[in-house]
């Protein structure tokens, strides 16, 4: 029967493998990028400078969660969740407080002195180097497991091969979705959220309207710090904690913020997903999907064992390509970001 023959030829197995690697993989890394990029884009929009220590704030948040989880390793047991996740709100609060303090100590004096934007950026590079040093000082340079127990793995059977999602990955999706919806309602419904958008739109007019810029700035740091901590913690739960954990993702996070349109939190989410999916698609080994076709191809055509757009080691270049492509095609970002 030709139908049955055709069905057996369909690479279901390989397709599930593709979903596991690319769709789930893209969603995971895209969520992490989105959580970082929301903060970066809010800071760019409201405070008008590139906050390079954001990756280190993510690492610091994961470190706080690690400390909490090692102090109280069984908090999560009754819920069947990792303790680091249950204690994540503590890490988020600590990171938010750290962000507010960093602003007070390093950025606020420069803002008051009305310095040029480039001075702010240099100062942010300085804070980044300082945080990297501090994190290494306290956390060491080795890798640590945020959750010592084995990860719960959910398998969904799908024609021979299983769709595989681990518990930390599921928590990451759910948290990102909830955070994005909550942020949306905060920005569009609450007095402070609207004031934040007003300051991003026109800071001088916001001041003239009697909006307290100090409150808006503090709220921005609290949101950015808390989401960075969550992103760092959830990433560390999915992989491991390392001192250079988020320094490696600061480039994709910035690419996501710029690609999405600077100052646009939704753009940051879309940008994060775009960068995440492009990375996983680019390093995916396409020969897995093509291999089942081998018997139908003439003999002289041989499918190589590895066909990927870029080797995994060069994954870091992907955000740059996306950045360049989007900036040529749509210079203000996917959502119309600010250009001035």
């Amino acid at each position: 029967m030709p139908e049955a023959g055709l069905l057996s030829v369909l690479p279901i197995n390989e397709f599930v493998f593709f979903i596991n690697k690319v769709v789930i993989g893209g969603l995971i890394i895209g969520s992490v990028y989105a959580l970082g990029a929301i903060g970066v884009t809010l800071i760019l929009g409201i405070l008008r400078f590139a906050h390079f220590p954001h990756g280190d704030m993510m690492t610091a948040g994961a470190f706080f969660a690690l400390v909490c989880a090692s102090l109280a390793p069984h908090v999560g047991d009754p819920f069947g969740l990792p303790s680091a996740f249950v204690l994540m709100p503590v890490a988020m609060a600590a990171t938010a407080a750290m962000a507010v303090w960093l602003d007070k100590a390093f950025y606020a004096p420069l803002r008051r002195a009305n310095v040029k934007p480039v001075v702010m950026v240099m100062s942010s590079v300085g804070v980044m180097l300082m945080l990297q040093g501090l994190i290494r000082l306290f956390a060491g340079t080795g890798t640590r497991q945020l959750d010592p127990g084995p990860k719960d793995i959910y398998r969904i059977p799908a024609g021979g091969r299983d769709l595989i999602v681990t518990q930390p990955q599921l928590l990451l999706f759910i948290f990102t979705a909830v955070a994005v919806v909550a942020l949306h309602f905060f920005l569009t419904r609450s007095r402070m959220g609207k004031a934040m958008r007003a300051v991003a739109d026109n800071a001088e007019l916001a001041r003239v309207s009697g909006i307290s810029i100090d409150h808006v700035v503090r709220t921005t740091w609290i949101i950015a710090g808390a989401l960075a901590a969550a992103g760092g913690t959830l990433l560390a739960l999915d992989v491991t904690f390392k001192a250079d954990l988020s320094f490696n993702i600061i480039l994709p996070v910035f690419a996501a913020a710029i690609v999405g349109g600077v100052g646009h939190p939704y753009g940051a989410v879309v940008g994060g997903m775009l960068v995440g999916f492009t990375e996983t698609l680019a390093v995916f080994n396409w020969s897995v999907l093509l291999r089942p076709l081998q018997p139908y191809l003439p003999e002289f055509v041989e499918i190589p064992s590895k066909i990927a757009f870029v080797p995994t080691e060069y994954k870091i270049v992907i955000p740059f390509f996306i950045l360049i492509a989007v900036l040529i095609w749509r210079p203000t970002g996917i959502f119309k970001g600010r250009t001035n």
Binding site: R191, K194, A198, D201, L205, R207, V208, S209, G210
Partner: protein, 236 residues
């Protein structure tokens, strides 16, 4: 006692002073108009009054209190509102959100004020969900004035509210400003269309080189041949 009294104000942006002794006084419910050539310090006077640049000499008294160099947040609470000449709306915020931002200092309910603004500027009601940046120049100006009215000011400061508007919109904006004034809000405005504005001003202030040159009622200034010759583009 006047609602606002600026006496002998000297102010600038850090370098040389732009204002070298400006005095402006208006009573509650009045319309005051500041006119004068470019660079006379008209807009600077409003900015100095609203705490947007440093006053080095002189005193500003509003409603019985000294407010020299107070910050905008304090001034809005005390009953002053300022509409800048340019960039005076939040472009990505909807019309209604722009108005809400004008009421930011209020903790009480301000729904009735939004309705009041829609009463003054009916075109805004149907555009209330639209981003303010997408409106026409005249409608943006209505949003800007509406935003400033949301704090229920005693005195509204307008910096060239008709700049860049077509003559049709200019007349409309002037008309609405008169209506706002009739509702009991004092107005102090800088205006390029000096002849038209002095026509309805209770008080006029002609500035030149950062100082008062002529001060009087609108009608007095219009009738003064000296003012007409030097500042109103020739007598006619």
């Amino acid at each position: 006692m006047p609602l606002l009294e600026m006496s002998d104000i000297h102010a600038g942006y850090g370098g040389a002073n732009i204002l070298n002794g400006v005095s402006i006084a208006i009573e509650a419910d009045e319309i005051g108009v500041i006119v004068g050539p470019n660079g006379a310090g008209k807009s600077t006077s409003l900015k100095a009054l609203f705490g947007l640049l440093k006053v080095s000499e002189g005193a500003i008294v509003f409603d019985g209190e000294t407010i020299t160099n107070a910050v905008p947040e304090t001034l809005v609470r005390k009953g002053l509102s300022f509409v800048p000449q340019e960039y005076n709306v939040f472009p990505t915020l909807s019309v209604e959100e722009n108005l809400e931002m004008g009421a930011y200092v209020r903790r009480d309910s301000f729904r009735h004020l939004i309705d009041m603004v829609y009463g003054f500027f009916p075109p805004l009601k149907e555009k209330r969900r639209q981003p303010a940046g997408e409106l026409s120049g005249g409608q943006r100006q209505m949003v800007a004035i509406g935003r400033a009215l949301m704090s229920e000011p005693k005195l509204l400061l307008l910096d060239e509210p008709t700049a860049g508007l077509s003559p049709r919109y200019m007349g409309e904006i002037f008309e609405r400003i008169l209506a706002v004034n009739a509702s009991g809000v004092g107005i102090l405005m800088v205006e390029q269309n000096a002849r038209q504005a002095l026509g309805f001003a209770h008080r006029g202030f002609v500035l030149a080189n950062g100082q008062n040159r002529f001060t009087g009622t609108g009608a007095e200034l219009l009738a003064d041949p000296e003012v007409a010759k030097s500042f109103l583009g020739g007598g006619d």
